[in-house]
């Protein structure tokens, strides 16, 4: 069953601004990336899905409920993490999340337990009695995630959850979202303007641009794809590429890196030996699961086609 289904969804704001047009989507359980530049319509879509904004055209169903008529039912079962700051500084994390748990309909004691659970899951168990104002940006993002998670939602809508985080904080947040989507079994939709960032954790990607669907694709087939090895050398990249090609490997250049498909473990040795033989200064060797950037940089394709294998 789809957790989110939209049909010809459109939203025009008074004054003629069109935020969404003809958006037809079916989002399956798992982790879905909602990708688009700022102003592409991501936040409008989320507001419609929460039943806070009525679409001007089409329909949207979330967890089987119509967003126009059953907004309250949807909001009782959907956790939402806004993009911007939304935390008061002078209350403790526990009190804040408990209060919002009750606002979701949990009885008082259950709200307390669920708030403690949610804060534990996001890694703030020790700090839960501290005032939110004393938290770092990363910890605040975790509180925002915890308030969305409280009460075991059927779907999480996360709007730019890695905003303002440093690379380490980003990785931790993404790992956390991945864990929620896989271990906890909660469907997650992550909105982000950085494809490269969320592609790692998503099962499905939806790209929108200018309020239109650019592409929707499942990545499940890709996870079985051959992984990539990115090699970056200080100099002599061309020589290395030629050398590797002569060894029978397919090599593609991306910016300063060479991408080599890892068909088996021998590839690692081949690449290492090649670099050693040529005596090149090695900057970086990175293992990549898959690479879908080009999927979305191509011209718009019909919706809901399974992602093609990335061409080496």
């Amino acid at each position: 069953m789809s957790v989110i289904e939209t049909r010809d969804l459109g939203k025009r704001y008074p004054g003629g601004v069109t935020a969404l047009t003809g958006l037809t989507l079916a989002v399956e359980p798992g982790i879905t990336g909602l990708v688009g530049a700022n102003g592409a319509g991501k936040s409008t879509l989320i507001k419609i899905l929460l039943g806070l904004l009525a679409p001007t055209d089409g329909t949207a169903r979330v967890l089987g409920h119509d967003t126009r008529t059953d907004g309250e039912l949807i909001r009782a079962r959907v956790g939402y993490m806004p993009e911007h700051d939304c935390l008061p500084p002078d209350v403790t994390a526990t009190e804040f999340v408990t209060h919002l748990g009750r606002m979701s309909g949990l009885p008082a004691t259950a709200a307390k337990e669920q708030a403690a659970e949610a804060l534990r899951h996001v890694g703030l168990h020790e700090e839960r009695y501290r005032q939110i104002g004393t938290f770092s940006t990363g910890m605040k993002q975790r509180v925002k995630l915890a308030q969305a998670l409280v009460g075991d939602p059927g779907l999480l809508l996360l709007d730019e959850p890695t905003n303002g985080l440093d690379p380490a904080g980003r990785d931790a947040m993404l790992a956390l979202i991945h864990r929620i989507g896989t271990e906890f079994g909660i469907a997650v939709m992550v909105a982000s303007h950085l494809l490269s960032e969320i592609e790692r954790i998503c099962d499905q990607l939806v790209a929108i641009e200018g309020g239109r669907l650019l592409r929707a694709a499942t990545l499940s087939s890709m996870t079985q794809n051959v992984p990539w090895l990115a090699v970056e050398v200080e100099e002599g990249a061309d020589a290395l590429a030629a050398h590797l090609a002569s060894l029978g490997l397919t090599v593609r250049t991306e910016n300063r890196a060479l991408l080599v498909p890892v068909r088996d473990d021998a590839v690692f040795d081949l690449v290492r030996d090649a670099i050693a033989d040529l005596g090149l200064p090695l900057n970086r060797m990175e293992h990549r699961r898959h690479h879908v950037e080009e999927l979305f940089s191509t011209s718009p394709a019909p919706a809901l086609v399974p992602a093609a294998e990335p061409q080496p």
Binding site: D85, C86, H99, M103, S104, G105, D159, T182
Partner: protein
């Protein structure tokens, strides 16, 4: 992909994710929770100790006349130092301070910290948010005004020896409670509407305090312009401007009666002041003779009508405000 992977062989500290299977309650529960949360917040509970200084300090000040009265009645006898129906008006400065802090506390904070999207992305209805805040502040004002009266009543009754004494006290208490109710009903929407227009708590507090203090000052100017003290003995109504005669009897004062005549400026002047609006309505509706202000006499119904109108308009304005508030 979506099946929860039960990792039994990995980390022993991680007891894993347990889906919530308990009840999910509806609108009534959510509204009650927000009401209770806001009522506590009005008195500064739920945050640091500093937040309680002004509300509880003000409440302590409100209790002072009650405590003195209980002591006086118990040791010397006689009546409380402040009557039940004068209590709120005489101590109105503390009420002003209390609402000027409490109303921004209830609504400006959520605007300031952008917490509203978290509320409205939950099953809470759009209009239930102002409703809960309104009921909470009205209750808080009522408690702020009525609890000192009830304490004074209980203390006075405890040292009362006769049944008629208890009955007299009870009869005197009821108007006081009605006044407390009127303050709650009228001032909660008025101050919340002002506070909900800004996320800056200091500005909201200042605006509310200025509103009350300025209107009080204006109505006092009207009163002194329109009051003609003729002094004892009571003279005939001689002032050409005067259309009616009001009497201010200082019952607790020395044994002489000073008579004032009020012209229409004094009688209608209270209409600009929310505090006098309540006091004037009390005098008119309860046929009270212990006025703390120029008796509105014929203007009485006007006071009542304006009080109702003000309450209705500010309540409507508050709900309208939250229908239009932006989320997310």
């Amino acid at each position: 992909m979506t099946t929860p992977a039960m990792t039994t062989d990995s980390v022993i500290h991680d007891i894993g994710y347990k889906p919530y299977t308990g009840p999910r309650l509806g609108r009534g529960h959510i509204l009650r929770s927000l009401y209770w949360f806001s009522l506590r917040a009005a008195f500064g509970f739920g945050r640091g100790a500093r937040a309680r200084i002004i509300p509880l300090g003000g409440f302590a000040a409100m209790l002072l006349p009650a405590a003195i009265s209980i002591y006086k009645v118990a040791s010397v006898g006689g009546d409380p130092v402040l009557t039940y129906s004068h209590y709120a008006y005489s101590m109105s400065l503390f009420l002003i301070v209390f609402v000027a802090v409490a109303a921004p506390e209830l609504v400006s904070r959520d605007l300031r910290h952008h917490t509203l999207p978290l509320y409205f992305s939950r099953p809470l209805r759009r209009s239930d948010y102002p409703l809960a805040k309104l009921l909470a502040l009205a209750t808080a004002i009522f408690l702020f005004e009525a609890l000192p009266l009830i304490i004074m009543y209980l203390g006075t009754v405890a040292s009362s020896t006769s049944g008629t004494g208890v009955w007299d006290q009870t009869k005197a208490l009821v108007p006081g409670l009605l006044v407390a109710l009127a303050y709650g009903a009228a001032f909660a929407p008025l101050t919340l509407l002002i506070a909900s227009s800004t996320g800056r708590r200091a500005i909201a507090t200042g605006a509310i305090a200025i509103l009350f203090l300025a209107t009080t000052a204006i109505s006092h100017v009207f009163e002194s312009v329109g009051t003609h003290s003729d002094g004892p003995p009571p003279p005939p109504p001689s002032s050409a401007q005067s259309d009616q005669t009001g009497q201010l009897q200082q019952s607790d004062g020395p044994p002489f009666k000073e008579t004032f005549t009020y012209d229409s400026v004094a009688r209608y002047g209270g209409l600009v002041d929310p505090l006098r609006l309540v006091e004037g309505t009390r005098i008119w509706a309860l046929h009270a003779t212990d006025a703390n202000m120029p008796d509105p006499k014929g203007a009485g119904p006007l006071y009542g009508a304006e009080l109702l109108l003000l309450t209705g308009l500010t309540t409507g304005g508050l709900f309208l405000r939250y229908r239009k508030v932006g989320v997310a």
